[in-house]
Amino acid sequence: MIARRRLPRRLIAGSIGLLMICCAIILGPRFLEPGPPSDPAHSALLPPGTMLTVLELDDGRTLVSPLVTTVGNLVIVDGPYSREEIPATSVSSRRVVQSWLGTDRYGRDLLRLMLLGGRLSLMIAALGALVSLVVGLAIGLSAATGGRWIDAVLMRGVDAMMAFPTLLLLILCAAVLDPGPATLVVLLGLTSWMGLARLVRGQVLSVRERQFVMAARVSGTPWYRVWSWHYLPEIRGPVAQDVALRLGDLVLAEATLSYLGLGLPPTTPTWGLLVSEGHRVMMDAWWPATLPGLAIAFLVICFALIGDGIQEL
């Protein structure tokens, strides 16, 4: 009877954090007030927790402002850059919403932006890690099992890939290819698989020398069974750990690329882009740069905890 070991605390903490983020970005937008269209004139750069009045007018316009007063039959809408006076009769609906995390410089609700951006950031990192996992596994396994020549060629190829200045390659490729999430996934995936390939090759080579594998092979066990019984359990742990840590790195890489203006068009609010947008107004408002930055950190920490936890397993 094997005693059940307790799961490492880091793994639990990281998984719970990741689960929380996933729930928030998947379910969050549903519970939010249907986002008011941005109204930069009246509601740019409002601090977290501001109550906003949303006015829908007869002519189809929507005004969003924290300062709405009614004087007689006039509705006065104040903003940092303008002031409008509207007859009360032309206001078709009026409701009050709270902007939990404030607004950015275009008057967009930061919480909503971050929830939508989180989907993109997480999805790009996850798919990028998947690409790097597939390529890394394929190259690493072929190098370990394909014989001396294939091994030498593939491993020198890995050396060459590592010698490329990754960021430069990303800059130039981003110029060649259409900017978009798919491009980013492929680029991030194809520039990050080398470590995994080396890891897999090393693991397979070291397992192959172990006596139980020798015994299994000599006794005529079919190759697929040798793989599933002996190789896979040995490779699984290190690979899972590597992928978890890589996910965090890819989130950071995507943020860095977006910050440098190479990732995605500005209309797609990933967390990196939000930070870079927030930097422009950092002297006036702390929240547009700080909050997405903390969100990135939280996600990366969750992945790091999971990675470290898998190692302790």
Binding site: R156, D159, A163, F164, P165, I171, L172, D308
Partner: protein
């Protein structure tokens, strides 16, 4: 051993050629040439065309590649379009700047990393350990551009303690040598701290884990049985074996010492390799892009060779028979 090293040295030219060729192809495939990126509204289309022919950018990609390769074989890296000087000059001015920044950052990284790991590993699970672990994980998770922006905001703009960009103040050329050094160090502090702290925060936990591993080994028990002080056990008997894998760092950090950090150098306008490379890539300055790529690739290849050699030197178990 010597044969393995020689074999790996022999493939270096081949690797460099592959890297250079692929990079050249990618630069050529990127839309626009240097002539198109010049941001001058008074430049007429005819003048743009003239610049294009002047730099040989109107020729076919393959011809340009052959010319570049031919010059390279003769040891000539070409002239930069953007900086109007030979690529070797561009690199020899940028390289010392990057080495100073990255070198300072590396020293800070090492000291901080060892300190963090030692303090954490003294009493694993104590509140000091937990606070340090959470703090360093937090710093590791934050993007470095975010930290750099925050540092500039606080220390340069709000408190005006430290300068936010470049290596020297305007007009520092006329100052005395001492004043220039102080000025340089003041400029160095922010970018080097960002790089050093981020580096230490992202790796201290690995050193902590290996310290804890070493603590379980029998020689620590033996040292304790001999009545050595806890301090001596920690600093000498635990730290030294745990530092073994760290020698590979000397090799692995060579690329950073040579290539610099694009993000931090760009944010702090530090005139090093990372920033030069970024400017050259944006301006499609092919000779500089290629020169930086070659130097960077060489650093990676030599660095990983040195790392493997040092690792084999430090740990006899991985030495090939």
């Amino acid at each position: 051993m010597t044969r393995i090293v020689l074999r790996r040295l022999a493939v270096i030219p081949l690797l460099l050629w592959v890297v250079a060729t692929v990079t050249f192809a990618v630069v050529q495939a990127a839309p626009g040439t240097y002539a198109d990126t010049i941001d001058n509204p008074r430049l007429t289309p005819a003048a743009r065309l003239h610049i294009k022919t002047l730099y040989g950018l109107d020729q076919g990609s393959f011809d340009q590649y052959l010319q570049w390769l031919g010059a390279l074989v003769q040891g000539d890296l070409g002239r930069s379009f953007l900086f109007k000087q030979p690529v070797t000059d561009v690199i020899t001015t940028a390289l010392p700047a990057t080495m100073l920044l990255a070198g300072t950052a590396l020293v800070m990284d090492l000291i901080l990393r060892i300190l963090l790991a030692l303090i954490s590993a003294r009493r694993p699970g104590s509140w000091v350990d937990r606070v340090l672990t959470v703090l360093s994980l937090g710093v590791y998770g934050l993007p470095s551009f975010w930290l750099a922006g925050l540092a500039i905001l606080f220390f340069s703009l709000k408190l005006s303690w430290l300068p936010a960009s470049h290596m020297a103040s305007v007009g520092a050329d006329g100052w005395s040598l001492g004043a220039r050094w102080v000025d340089f160090i003041r400029h160095l502090i922010l970018p080097a701290s960002i790089l050093g702290i981020v580096g230490a925060a992202s790796t201290a936990r690995y050193l902590r884990a290996s310290l804890l591993d070493v603590r379980k080994s029998p020689h620590i028990l033996a040292a304790r049985a001999r009545g050595l002080s806890e301090k001596r056990i920690l600093w000498v008997h635990t730290l030294r074996p745990a530092l073994g894998p760290l020698v590979t760092l000397i090799g692995l950090s060579l690329p950073i010492l040579v290539g610099g950090s694009v993000v931090v150098e760009t944010i702090f306008s530090w005139p090093g390799m990372g920033r030069v490379m970024w400017q050259a890539a944006v301006a499609r300055d092919i000779p500089v892009v290629m020169g930086c790529t070659l130097i960077g690739a060489l650093a990676v290849i030599i660095g990983s060779l040195v790392a493997d050699l040092l690792y084999a030197w430090a740990d006899p178990r991985v030495r090939p028979q």
